[in-house]
Each structure stands twice: as C-alpha cells, then as structure tokens.
Symmetry: C2
Subunit: 665 residues, 2 copies
C-alpha cells in the first residue's frame, strides 16, 4: 500500500477538476443508496478473478439527503446461486470479513448546481471482498440489505464457455476511434475506382466476417478509450477514465474492485506470451488497459509499473511484464516527474531481462528470444502522414526517447512494430501461443483535432499492417491457428459529404461564398487522391493515396466540434490545432484558431466552448474477424462480447475451481 | 415514341437547371472522347437484358476542343468474348445496324466557368443497340474505334451465377439513408440498459448475418437514392438522378441505355408476384426504381405509367404492374398536372383489375387475391412520430388522397402496409413466390431536414415492421423459404455525441453559453427516453421510446448542414424546417430559420448557402440478412452485389439463350 501513497496524493490534488466526472449522477452504477460492485446485469468468465465492493450512501444534503448523513455500517451482504442456498459473501468465498471503510465524496446534481457551486455531499460506509471467482456457469444473485429494510440486488451471469483452445494465438488490432465512415473514406483516398468498381481494396474489405459492437460505458452512453478498452479486455464495462475496475466512490484511484483481464488470464492459465504495440504513448488507455486496474487513467507512471510488475498493493494474478512492448511515451520511462516514483523504467525493464530499443534499427536487431521493450519517442508517435509525406515536420519536435532535446529519428511505424512483436511473441510463446494487441492510436487523436487526412493516413497504415500481418503469419506457418480481430473502441461522428475545390475556395471572399466550393451528390465527382501526380513525392501507393494534395479534396466534417476554420485540404506543416483561446478571454474559452486554415471559412461549434477538440460519438463500431472462431464474430453485440468470444476461442473458462482455494480465493 | 413527347418537352424545359448535374465532367463514365455504355468494368447477370450505346464526342470549345467540333460518324464497334473472335456488335447480337443519332450538350469545366457562364459545348454522334443479353459467363471486351486511331474499350464480366432457386420469396427492406450511427441512436432511444446491458434489442440486432455495402455512384462518390436503388435492383451502378439506365449525354430522359431490373427478371423468368411498399410517394426513387428506366427521376407521372405498363417506347421485358403497391403520392394518380398525360391513374389501375384503397380500413378489407393499389395521401406519408405521438399535426395537412382539400385520415403505417402486401403477394405468388421491397423513406427525408427524432422514429417503425414480418412469415409457414434483407441506399453524416440539458439550454443567454448544456463522455449520462413519464401519452413502448421529450436529450449533429439553430429537443409542432431565405436576400440564400428552435444556438453550416437541407454522405451502409442464402451477405461489398446475391438466391441466371433469339435478341 505504501508505494501507492504518492499516487493517491496526486489524485486528490486533481480531484477538484475531476469532480465533474460524476456530473449529474451520485454514482453511475448505483441509483439507490446501496451499491453492489460489480452491479446488476454483469457477466463473468468462469474462474475469472474479481473483487466485490459494497457501499452504503448517506447524502448529507441535496435532493437525496437521508438519515442525517450517517451511513448504515451494519449492512448485510449475501450471495445465492440460482436454485441454491443464500450464504454470506464471506462464507461463500471462504474469506474473512473485511473491515468497514469510510469516506466522503461530493457531486453536482445538475449544471445549475455546478454554476451555483452547491455540491451534494455523501458519506459512505463500505466493505470490499478481494480476489474471488465464480466457477460454475449460471445466475447468481447478490443481495445488500441496509437501513433496516432497504435492499439492492445484483444478478450476475457466469457464462458457459469453452475450456478447449481453438486458436493458438490471437492478434487483436484496435483502430482507436475507427468507424465504418472512416474506413469508407480511407478506401476512397487510397484505392482507385473505374466506373464505380474498385480496382483494389482494403485488407479489411477482404475479411470474411463482419460484426458490430456497441461501445457505450456502464453508466454513460458515450465512452472514453479507457473503459471501452477495459470492456474489450475483461468482459466488464466500466466508467469513463476507469480500467480493469468497477469505479467506486472512494478517493483512492487504486482501491476500486478489480476484474481480471485477458492478459492476466492467458498468462495464468496457458502461460502464453503477450505483447502490446501502439502508436500512442504506452501508458495511454488502449495499451495500458491490458494490465491496468485503476479509477484514473491519468496515473501514467504507476500504470507502467503495473504493466511490468502487476498489481502490487493487493494479492492478485501475477504477471511478469509483456514479452513485447512497443510504442511512444518516453516520459514514463525516463527518470523524472513522468515516471513512477521518479525511477528509470528503461533500467527497471532491463533489470528484468528486456532488450531496450529506442529506434527502429535497434528494434529490428533485437533478439526474438528475449523480452523486448521499444520506446521510440516522447508522447505519441508522429503520424504516418508526417513520417512518410511531410518528414520535415518531424525535425521540429523535441521528442527523442533518450531524453535529449533533439527530434526522435528512425522511428518505426505500426507495421514495423507489429511484425517485430509477432517475431518475438511467436518465438517466446512457442507451443503456448501468444496474445498481441496492436493499436493505431492516432486515428482517434487526429480525429479529435479534426485533422482528417492524418487520421485517415493512420487508418491506412493500420490496414497495411493487417495486410502485412496476414502475409507474415502465412510465412511463419501459423495463419490457420491465429485468430485476427480488427475493431475499434468507439467512434467519432465523422463523415464525408462531398468534395471541395480548394482553388475556388481560396479565391472566394467571405465565409458564405467560400462554402460554394463544396460539391455534393454528382458534383462530388471522383477521388483525385488516386491519380498520380508526376514530380510530387506523394506517390506512396499502392494502398495509400498517390496524391495527398489534389485540387478537389474530400469535404468532411463532424456533428460535434469546437469553433474552427475549414478549408478541407491537407495541413502540410503539421498536425492541425483547430481551436485556441484568445488572450484576455479566459483559458477555457475556445475560438477558431487564427493560424489554422486561414484561407478557410468559419464553422462555429456545437460543443461547450471549453472543449478545444472534437469528442467521441455513440455509433456502434465494426468488428472484422479471420481465422479460428471467426464465425462467432458476425452480427451485433456488446463490446464485452469481444472478450467472451476471444476467451472462448482461447479456452480460458475454468468451470471448476482448480487454481485457488474454496469457491473464491 | 409519341407518347413520350410531352415528357421530353418537360425535360428540355428543365434542362437549364439540370446542366449543373454534369458539373466538372463532360460525361462521368467517359473521360475519353469515345464512350461505351455500359462502360468498362461492368458486371452482368447471365441473360440479363440491356441496351448498348456508343457516343463520339467533339468538344467545340474549352480545354478539350477537338476536330473543329465535328464528331466522327464512321466509328466502328466490336465485341469479343475472352478467347473468342471479335465480331461487330450488330453481327454478334443478330441486330440490324442502327442509324446515327446526333445532338449537342454543354457542361461547365469548373466553378469558375460556371460563375463566368462559359459552358463547354460538345457535339455528339451516337448509335444505340437495343435489347441484347450476354448468356455465357466470362469476360467480354467491347471496342469502339473512332477518329482514325482512337480507341475506347470496355471490359464486361458476366458472372457465373445459379439457375436454381434457393429462396422462394425475398423481402428487401430499405431504410432510406439509414446508417449504423442511426441504428445505434435508435436503439438508445427505444431500448433500456441496466448497467450497460440492453434489456431488449432491435430486431436488426438479432439478424445472424451482417455486411457492409458501398453506395457510391458510377461517376461520383456521393450517390442519390435513384441511382443507388437502381444498383441494388439491377446490379448496375448509375449516375445521380438516373434509374435503370446508364446515363447518356442526350437530352431525352427516356432514350438512355437500359438494364433489366430484378422485378422484370423475376416476373419474366419465374412469373413471381411482386410488390412495393413505401412511406414516400410511390413515384419517389426507391420504390419507382424497381421498374423505372430514365435519366431523370423527376418524371414522376411517366414513371408511375412505367410501373403499371412497363417500358412502352421500346421493345422491352413486359411487366403487367405490381401485385401490391402501397404508399403516398396521390398527385401522380389524381387526374391533373401531376399525372402522366393528365390521366386518372386510380382509374388506369382499376381498369387492370386492381383494388384501390385510399385508407387503412379499405386496405385491410381488400381481397388478397386481387392486385392491390393503396395510395393514402398526397406526397409522403406523415411520419411515425406525427401519426403516433403528435397526431394534432396531421390535421394541418391538406393531403387527402381523394383530392379533397382535407387532411388524409386513417393512414396505415409501414407495418400495416407491409403485412398486407405479404398477404397479397403470398396469395397471388403461390408456388411461384414473390419479391417485395418495403421502404422506410422518411429516415432519409427527416435526416435531410435535421429532424433527428422524426428520422429515428421512422427507423424504429422499420425495425418494428421487420419484427412483425418475421412473425407473419412464421405464421404463414414461409419463414424458412423467405430471404429477408434489410439495408439502406446511402447514408447521412449523423451521429450522437452526447446529451443536452434542454432546461439549462433554454435558460442560458447567447450562442456560446447555450452550448454548455451539452454533456460529453461521462456527462452524456444514460438515455432518459426509456424512462416512463406518468401522465404523458408518449408511452408507446415496447420497441419505441417511453418519453420523446425528456429533460436530457441526445445531442446529435451532422458534419454537413445549412445554417440552422439547434436546441436538440423534439419538434412538437411538426417536421423541422431548419433553414429559410430572408426577404430581399435572394431565393437561394439560406439562413437559420427564425422559427426553428428559437430557444437554440446558431450553427452556421458547411454546405453551399443554396442548400436548404442536409445532404447524403459517403459511408458504407449495413446489410442484415436472414433466411436462405443469408451466409452470402457477410463481409464488405458493392451495392451491386446485393442484386447478384439476390439474383443468385432466386436462380435468375440464364447461362444459355432460351428466351430470345440469337446471342442477343
């Protein structure tokens, strides 16, 4: 516990600003005053480990004020399997009764209360039962009785899943924020049609099975990448900013009730190798959620420590670090304010036998037999468009992963990192197989800043990586025993609605006249991105545009944006920054940036003016599957079902208790 | 031919405004000066009838000016099957050589030319070979030689498809403009979650097979509903505003080279019954494209005549009218300016033995053994939301299908029309089976006017209709022999990005402050549409929202819109009209309407200011399939593949010539 104190302090310091995370709900999963976490309607893999927290709330003021703000500490908790006898939680799982915890939190009941600065305060009494598991498939009812007569129940379903492996390996590609709309646009940019027929296709278009997954959170209909990644990896939805836990109301970011992830399961049960590759910083939500158990995704340093050492503040599934771990985010590895307890995590990884690569040459030369760490820059990797089309933009950055004040050089792309990870994982996993997650992170990041070209470039890089992966697996002779799944964690409300004549737009005066440059329906014409542009070095096809800067470009937009200026053409000087503050007008009051597309027309936004970027959207996202178990990925389902489908294909269910004592620990 | 003269006159009168249909392309399918229609890269069903047009262009002025504006009339045209001998077109198809046709058309090379009113003029020499077919699967090359040395070739593929029926019946539902984003939003409004798990689902969510289809036109990447419907029904993409033809450059809207549709094929080959149901007017693109062969979708009266009598100006597949034909659009049936040659089409249909119903009571009482026409209002049917939640809005309309100046009453919904159509088609088709197209048209129409609630209400009505159809087919004992396909023809760039507090929004002052009412991520919260609202008559569940007017509503938007005012709540007084002209500022200069959401904030648009509505978008749209051949609908493919999959399932291929003479006619 001691080692987490500094982290808790950071969380508390930030709590004034994160209070708004609970705007309009006391606790999203707990409309009553008694809370069971995991709450009602949750599903479980047989044998999957988790914690159970109970909370009794006593609102001091506000619309729910109750019992003078004194929470009932004598609450009673039981569990019963359908058709079985009800037992106390402690008895059922053969645990000692935990001690009561108490804390206070506050929330705002609505925007009026927030404006008036009148929070509602809640006192809490709680117990948590740690590291239990349910083995037998079926329905279980958990009952919390409190305040002499109040009851909260939770119905849990342990799914009947397979114990036999059908796939030796799984490679799970995540296009962060990637939607069907974006895939359609990327195809238009990179692949040529003749009279309506595509002459080549995306690799994704060739997948035999397609599904849709619903990405919503457990307690809000728009998700972030932390809790959606967690749903994909654990089969349990969570709350915005949380990973590998059900979010409780306590201030400690590392005491929330945990759920076991696919990486923890596949190493515990089969001893498989595992890896993560991302074009984001490695502590970012999508890669880190494989091992993270926290209420706050922003605890970057501590989460890198969790990836290497596993959970250390409680008894939990032991993991011994990834076998391959490639991405950005040197800040959490260089000793200093960004790393956990200020330590040198290059050294920490090296101590555990890792090769450490800080550039692509070193990465490719690294042994496939050793665990491998690759950190290629600070922050996120520069995007495909800057690495391949506008490399002069890279020199402006001070992102050397060694900590030098220089620009990172010799940076691998998603393809180079993924193919190397496969070599390492195939070598190290051997007969035990492997699990690899590979993330195209900047589809999301560039969509946030409305830089559609950069987002689509990274989507095409993902597609190209999947194409190369299929070829690589074939060459290794393991294509038939490897399940490949490509999906996303959520969407952005992007779509293409026509073309725009950049020449005409630039020469018109005024916001309204410039809009005439947009051509819709028949005037959208054909993609000019696929036409070779002699003398211009854009010619990066096949599978990428031949011209990133044609006169007629796609006209695209989002339903949700900050104020910005639009001209639709590629941003040559670096990633777009659409909105900015104006000196003297407040630090969270964003307007269209005067330096972004100065030749464009003004689009006033639909988002609150404190948002500098676009936001995630509701849409279901596509799922592509190829390989063993592919047939289970058709149709429409929840994001948690991706976990259960993968777990079923890997035979991770343990319907009888063989690993830890009792029915629980 | 004579009977088409009035139509041609209408087309010519309108031609000044429709010239812009060819903005930026001389002819979309013909970048060279010699044109083959069908052009390069087209696919065919074995035995499918079509026309072949050749054009030689002589641009008089502009960037392509050639040969003094004199087109080569001595061009030469041949066809060769792969590995076979090249023959003249006339010889190959045993046709007489057609006479040369000549005309002139003009186009603008770009927006600058359009502003300057400097069109490029083109003289044309052309021949058309009518009513041919290719039977043997394989690749055919058509060659046009012109201007002593210039050559245009077209490679055509006749697909090897089945001659055996696998499905007796097909029901093809089209949610016009329906995207995955909208389906996700509709689910959120109508189905309740508890802690992230849906307690009920859409019928679409239960379909076993999901695919994506690409909706783009043959010559522009954004389609309209005419040419996308045509692609779905014929396996041939076309041009915006065209149906059942490849668009040529001639001024006659009814002389373009035709392709046979699924309705013409299934009646010619199997004698099946067929029907169309739509919530649009029946002459609208999606229903009428089943039988229409025209360059101009706006020839409404003539197209209703084509639906009843088939093509009459040329020898073509005989059709004898639909067996069930239900929708709106009394204007084309009442004698007068909206009907073909001013005739009474209620009478024309009755003459051919149709029952004619003008309300739901009459419809339900009509014999299932007779052909049935049902026209329930002028224009489009009022939407589900107005019919079921705000019926007071119906009384304001003067849409009685009898021509009286009253409001139509007793209007059936999509479900009532579809279930009745199934009864009629099942009775009349008997052992020969049936083909039914059922369209939820106002998903598109209401998305155009940014009325998201009305669009989603009609999407839920479609889903409810599909649910009822499955039950109906089961009751009739024909579920197992009926393929059900649900898809769309194109999208709109709609998505939900959060929630909005309507109370807070209304009470804030100023465009910027009102935007603070939007909650994103965790502040999106949960759907309040599924919470019962005692005392309010909205409680229309299950499968529809319990409350259409909650305090917290979805915040949704489009990347492309006209100027408008947004407040996110339901429009209670009728369908939304977001943009309007301002007296004195020009008739095609749209601004946010002052009477639309006056409590909202201004969103300036991204579309040209002459657009009063939103537009179609690029995105691939989903395909759901259930029944015989369902397994062929997974993955990603072109919209034309829907036709080939359906034709294959119906065994419509004729790989040898049994029906008409020679290799052609």
């Amino acid at each position: 516990m001691l080692s987490r104190l500094s982290v808790v302090a950071v969380y508390l310091a930030a709590s004034l600003s994160t209070v708004s995370c609970q705007t309009f709900r006391r606790l999203g999963t707990c409309p009553a005053l008694g809370c069971v976490l995991p709450p009602d309607q949750q599903d479980f893999l047989p044998g999957q480990q988790f914690d159970i927290r109970f909370e009794v709330h006593a609102p001091v003021n506000g619309s729910e004020a109750f019992n003078g703000g004194v929470p009932d500490e004598k609450f009673n908790v039981t569990i019963a399997k359908e058709g079985g006898r009800s037992k106390s939680i402690a008895n059922f799982f053969h645990l000692e009764e935990p001690t009561i915890e108490k804390w206070t939190f506050s929330w705002f009941e609505d925007l009026f209360a927030q404006d008036a600065k009148t929070p509602s305060v809640v006192n809490v009494a709680s117990k948590i039962y740690r590291r239990v598991a349910l083995y037998e498939p079926g329905t279980y009812t958990v009952t919390l009785k409190y305040y002499s007569g109040k009851t909260t129940t939770a119905s849990w379903a342990v799914r009947p899943l397979a114990t036999q492996k059908k796939a030796k390996n799984i490679i799970f590609f995540i296009g962060d924020g990637m939607t069907t709309n974006m895939i359609t646009a990327a195809r238009l940019l990179a692949h040529k049609t003749i009279n309506g027929k595509y002459q080549s296709l995306l690799q994704l278009d060739k997948f035999p099975v397609l599904g849709h997954q619903m990405s919503h959170s457990i307690d809000s209909f728009i998700t972030d990448s932390a809790n959606s990644a967690s749903a994909l990896y654990s089969g349990h939805k969570s709350t915005v900013n949380a990973m590998g836990v059900y979010a409780d109301s306590s201030p400690d970011a590392f005491d929330d009730p945990k759920v076991e992830t696919i990486v923890e399961l596949v190493t515990r049960i089969w001893g498989s190798a595992w890896g993560a590759v991302s074009t984001a910083f490695l502590a970012d939500a999508t890669p880190i959620a494989l091992t993270a158990h926290t209420r706050s995704r922003y605890q970057y340093g501590a989460l890198i420590d969790q990836a290497l050492h596993g959970v250390t503040n409680y008894s939990w599934t032991k993991i011994d670090g990834p076998d391959a771990y490639f991405g950005g985010g040197a800040e959490q590895f260089l000793p200093g304010s960004g790393s956990y307890l200020g330590k040198d995590y290059y050294a920490e990884f090296a101590k555990k036998g890792y090769t450490v690569s800080l550039n692509n040459t070193s990465l490719q030369a690294a042994s496939n037999s050793s665990k491998a760490l690759g950190v290629f820059c600070k922050s996120n990797l520069p995007v495909w468009l800057d690495r391949n089309i506008f490399p002069e933009n890279l020199g402006k950055l001070g992102n050397d992963p060694s900590g030098a004040k220089a620009a990172a050089k010799d940076i691998p792309g998603l393809k180079e990192m993924t193919l190397k990870a496969i070599d390492v994982l195939h070598t190290r996993g051997g007969k035990k197989g492997f699990f690899l997650m590979s993330e195209a992170a900047s589809i999301d990041k560039q969509m946030h800043s409305l830089d559609y070209d950069r987002a689509l470039g990274d989507l095409l890089e993902l597609d190209d990586t999947v194409r190369a992966t299929v070829a690589k697996l074939k060459a290794l002779g393991i294509l038939d025993e490897t399940l490949i799944v490509v999906s996303a964690d959520h969407g952005h409300g992007f779509d293409v609605f026509g073309s725009a004549d950049t020449k005409y737009l630039a020469e018109q005066d005024g916001n309204r006249k410039k809009r005439s440059a947009v051509g819709v329906y028949e005037a959208s014409g054909l993609s000019q991105y696929t036409i070779e542009n002699p003398g211009v070095s854009y010619n990066t096809g096949p599978n990428f545009p031949l011209n990133w800067d044609p006169r007629y470009v796609i006209a695209a937009g989002m339903g949700a944006s900050p104020d910005h200026r639009e001209s639709f053409g590629v941003n040559k000087t670096g990633p777009r920054v659409p909105a900015a503050t104006i000196p003297g007008r407040g630090s969270s009051d964003y307007y269209a940036s005067s330096t972004d597309n100065p030749e464009g027309f003004i689009v006033n936004g639909t988002l609150p003016v404190d948002q500098s970027q676009g936001v995630h959207s509701l849409t279901d996202v596509p799922v592509y599957a190829m390989g063993p178990c592919q047939e289970t990925f058709g149709g429409t389902y929840s994001n948690i079902d991706i976990f259960y489908k993968m777990a079923n294909c890997l035979g991770l269910a343990q319907p009888t208790n063989k690993t830890i004592g009792g029915n629980g620990k």
